[in-house]
Symmetry: C2
Subunit: 274 residues, 2 copies
């Protein structure tokens, strides 16, 4: 099943959508948070009649499991550049999984040509990142802290930078960082909705941080999409700088190989109570 | 008028609030975006019965002008740690100014004691940052690009790091960064709602970036509050790394003088169409 099919949403009446969390997009039974966000964003994009989630925030309220979902949404304002929409993705029992707020637009043309970019991240070239996560899983089932997601990583093609893969063999780098490459399987082209999945696809940065933390559930994730992605691999970097108060942030960047920023993200994640 | 009085909101019926955008919290006539967020957050905090905006996102739909406002909100989920709420702040005609989504909690005790903090920002000591913005304005009315806000800066006490104050005299540093110190006037203690104002109080980073950009309206602002602030000055740093596609991000940090992270923010701002 393609990503497009796995994120299809049907409009039943204006502002009401139905869809399905597909099998296999999970991490230990719970659907990947980025995949859930793509699913919800497809409905929001349809409702606003704007293709691109320029800025989209989700609060994660409950894990998602394979099966039917519904989404309700409401446009707050339709402007020239953006349409702002709020919504909720709920499970079959109507319990909310995601609360959403986004401004959708059309990124076919850049809003302005003024540019100033700090350097793209230092990611090992793709051809040297051939130990992708699915492959590592098959060979090393006892790897790391057990949180490496086998099912989800059969759905996307994610190549970890070897410098950040130490956690898989219980030798974390000490640096709260994950770098690598991302694309959909079977050369499926990525739209800006697929970028939302990419922005939550990598293992938690904290796995490399030498902290006694195995699981950091997402409280909130905000994605900023700057441009439509090319039909090619994207370079990715995720970093965390501050663990305090029981929380940490994880900042993400997606880049083209030509050094164009495609998207940024920040999520707030929760530490287990100490 | 105190900050607390300037952000008072009255509950009329559950989920409905009325308040007033006070005079003098504006930048060239438009209320400061952080002040608007504090005003809205006070109602959301009351509605959820949780004091602290742990993560709060606002989409800015229209400028706010002094006068009556109303807020409507709805709790999406009440959990053990957080209550998640969505809302809208509207002007006297009912037109939405802010669309909001937040998870509120109680930060009286940290959720976990596990800590890992990158260094606090390099900010010039407070006693050497005595050219605060209000003061500079009075002395140098023709300063910089004309976007320095006089009214708002009589309401808060904001001291710019001299290294980042060059834009005031048309000698921007070339580095898209603003650092300095923040507190409320008259020693008014800051709660976590006041931090939302602090996170949008400094001049745009882009003023120091040597770009032909004078005005970058906020599309979206997300604030993460890690802890309650002490009754003292806060150290602040705002940076922008990526201007592309007609947008830029501005990342903020607020710190205690003891090197504790109090809050983080990221906003997406818009460049004028090129």
């Amino acid at each position: 099943m393609s990503f497009a099919a796995a994120t299809a949403m049907d409009c039943t009446t204006p502002g009401h959508y139905r869809g399905t969390i597909a099998e296999g997009w999970d991490i230990a039974g719970n659907a990947n948070g980025g995949y859930l966000l793509s699913l919800a964003a497809r409905a929001l994009s349809h409702h606003t009649e704007r293709p691109d989630p320029v800025t989209l925030t989700a609060h994660y309220l409950r894990p998602g499991r394979p099966g039917p979902v519904s989404l309700e949404c409401e446009t707050v304002k339709t402007g020239r550049l953006f349409a702002t929409v709020s919504g909720r993705l709920a499970d079959a029992e109507g319990k909310p999984m995601l609360a959403l707020l986004g401004s959708f637009g059309d990124l076919a043309q850049p809003i302005s040509d003024i540019r100033r970019l700090d350097g793209a991240p230092d990611v090992t070239p793709l051809e040297e990142c051939n130990r992708h996560l699915g492959h590592v899983q098959a060979e090393e089932p006892a790897a790391g802290n057990g949180a490496v997601p086998p099912a989800f990583h059969s759905k996307v093609d994610l190549r970890l930078d070897p410098r950040d893969a130490g956690f898989l063999t219980a030798t974390p780098s000490g640096d709260a960082r994950m770098r690598g490459w991302f694309r959909l399987r079977n050369d499926e082209p990525m739209d800006t909705l697929a970028l939302l999945t990419a922005l939550d696809a990598f293992p938690p940065t904290i796995f490399n941080a030498n902290l006694p933390v195995a699981w950091t559930p997402t409280v909130e994730l905000t994605c900023h999409i700057r441009s439509r992605p090319p039909a090619d691999w994207l370079m990715a970097q995720f970093t965390s700088r501050f663990v305090s108060g029981g929380m940490l942030e994880e900042d993400g960047e997606l880049w083209t190989q030509d050094g164009e920023l495609v998207a940024q993200s920040r999520q707030l994640a929760l530490l287990p109570r100490g």
